[in-house]
């Protein structure tokens, strides 16, 4: 067999490996059987059951509230950080960069337990930050900031500095320079960073697991506890819908970036 053919065969096998689990879940979500993997006929009843499942609606709402508010905060803070780090040299810049990389590179669980410890401490001594939606949002912002800053920073690094200089020569104030020149150029980077932050928040399990309290159950936490207790077929339906949303979002992003 030629090298080229071997490469293709290997590629096809890897793709099968990547898609086997996803296919299994999608197929099971349409299976009439409540237990096991035997095919008992096509059904949409698990999807219908979802519609009447009020608790799951609450989990979806929690996930969306957390993702939206944390993305908003992280995008603002991260964009400002990227601007400052890109433009200025100052004391502590290296330390700040290090602090930015830490949440990206340390294992999730270390970040999860250290935030749990911090929140428990604040609760004990400051009577603040009780575990709930608020603490999950704070935790998510903490890892999102790093990603937002690094994405926006790389976009800023690709800008032509002479544009800002030209604006300055024409007498634009620094505020005006930012809104009229820098911001429109960096905008796609900020949007991409926000989208990344939003997806990371929706997808996160480990950090949410340690920082959530009663009443702040998210969709991933619900899936985890269902798997621990024994899965109901509704979980297959929820998962399939989540896969569908991811696929549509990715296709949307790809189309948007092709058009540019």
């Amino acid at each position: 067999m030629s090298g080229r053919r071997l490469l293709t065969l290997h590629g096809v096998l890897v793709l099968l490996f990547l898609y086997l689990p996803i296919a299994v879940i999608v197929v099971l979500s349409f299976n009439a059987s409540k237990y096991g993997v035997q095919w008992h006929g096509f059904t949409l009843k698990w999807y219908a059951a979802l519609l009447g499942h009020a608790r799951i609606h609450g989990y979806v709402t929690n996930s969306l509230i957390i993702a939206t508010s944390s993305t908003l905060i992280a995008t603002i803070l991260g964009t400002l950080l990227a601007l400052g780090i890109h433009r200025y040299r100052f004391f502590g810049r290296g330390g700040l960069l290090f602090l930015l990389y830490v949440p990206v590179v340390i294992p999730d669980i270390v970040m999860g337990v250290s935030l749990l410890l911090f929140f428990a401490w604040a609760q004990n001594y400051l009577r603040a930050l009780h575990l709930g939606l608020g603490t999950v949002i704070v935790a998510h912002v903490t890892f999102q900031i790093a990603y937002v800053t690094l994405v926006v920073k790389s976009r800023l690094a690709g800008l032509d500095p002479s544009l800002e200089e030209a604006a300055a020569d024409l007498g634009a104030t620094s505020w005006r320079r930012f809104w009229k020149v820098t911001f429109p150029l960096v905008w796609p980077g900020i949007a991409a960073a926000a989208l990344l932050a939003f997806t990371l928040s929706l997808d996160d399990f480990v950090i949410t697991f340690f920082t959530a309290g009663p009443g702040s159950t998210t969709l991933p936490i619900y899936i985890y506890s269902s798997v621990k207790r024994g899965v109901t077929p509704e979980v297959h339906a929820v998962s399939t819908l989540m896969i569908l949303v991811t696929t549509l979002a990715l296709l949307g992003v790809q189309r948007a970036s092709n058009r540019r």
């Binding site: 086997l20 879940i25 200025y88 669980i109 337990v113 903490t142 997808d203 989540m242």
Partner: protein
């Protein structure tokens, strides 16, 4: 690069820096501090400062050496190493397959999609595949073959980990493979190099930045995982991540859990420091 006025620096850097100091640096310092405390009467922490947690982790006690937790740490390392090797064997040729294909965008999308599919769903799917009446055993009994015990097991944990982190390697590696300058390979052939030698000297070094970034992105989370071993090992596969989770959950010995978490973090940061010393700021950027 300007020398900033204080006002501008405060307006841009200060809010984010404040956030990171309070919610990232401070919690990390708290973990370090808590690792020297003891379990208090109500499951909370209390003084005085002690080295007992580290002594317990490294198995040093008055009754001799007990490598319980060091073995668990070793098992986590083994999982990290085996996963990394397997993922490189699967992913390295695959990155070339994408780069040389006519359907690059489609193939990239096909790798990104599982990557963005919720992690728990992907791990759970392997339970469905491996369980007693799961996909594999259903297939085996259809062929009238004896069924296998695959879940819960270490095999399942390994397959699940390899599966989960494969895209983490392919994506940064592909970024390097795509930029490979193939004329170097032709030059090597012209100079009389064979296929293997030509690849090794002309192509492989060009893929190294992506490969190293990918390996770190696989090895570090694999080292710290607790969800995959928890679900696919069903409580029987204990890794360092599971130890930390148990101490902060059911066992409620936060002091010991903090010591275990700090050991894990110190190992990761040490590895990264060694990497950053060679690669610098731009090299850290490759990690994204």
């Amino acid at each position: 690069m300007n020398r900033p006025s204080w006002r501008r620096l405060l307006a841009t850097v200060a809010p984010g820096a404040f956030w990171l100091v309070v919610f990232s640096l401070l919690p990390t310092l708290l973990i370090l501090y808590a690792s020297f405390l003891q379990r208090g009467p109500h499951g909370w922490l209390s003084g005085p400062l002690t080295l007992a947690n580290y002594a317990r982790f490294f198995g040093i006690s008055s009754s001799g050496f007990d490598p319980l937790y060091l073995n668990i740490l070793g098992r986590s390392f083994l999982l990290g190493v085996v996963t990394t090797v397997a993922v490189v064997l699967l992913g390295y040729p695959f990155a070339f397959f994408i780069a040389r294909s006519r359907h690059k965008n489609l193939l990239l999308l096909l790798v990104v999609l599982p990557f963005w599919t919720n992690f728990l769903i992907r791990v759970y799917a392997w339970i469905v595949i491996f369980q007693r009446r799961g996909v594999i055993n259903a297939f085996l009994s259809y062929l009238h073959l004896p069924t296998l015990h695959l879940y819960p097991s270490w095999t399942a944990v390994y397959v699940g980990t390899i599966y989960t982190y494969l895209p983490f390697l392919i994506l940064p590696l592909y970024a390097s493979v795509e930029k490979v300058d193939w004329t170097l390979l032709e030059a090597a052939y012209d100079l009389g190099a064979g296929r293997v030698r030509g690849f090794w000297h002309a192509v492989f070094p060009q893929t190294l930045p992506g490969l190293v970034a990918g390996v770190l992105l696989v090895f570090i989370p694999a080292l710290g995982t607790f969800v995959i071993s928890d679900l696919l090992g069903a409580g029987k596969a204990i890794l360092i991540g599971n130890v930390i989770q148990q101490q902060f959950g059911g066992s409620r010995d936060w002091a010991f859990g903090s010591a275990a978490a700090f050991v894990l973090m110190a190992l990761v940061l040490l590895g990264l420091w060694l990497y950053a010393r060679r690669a610098g700021e731009s090299g850290m950027g490759e990690l994204l």
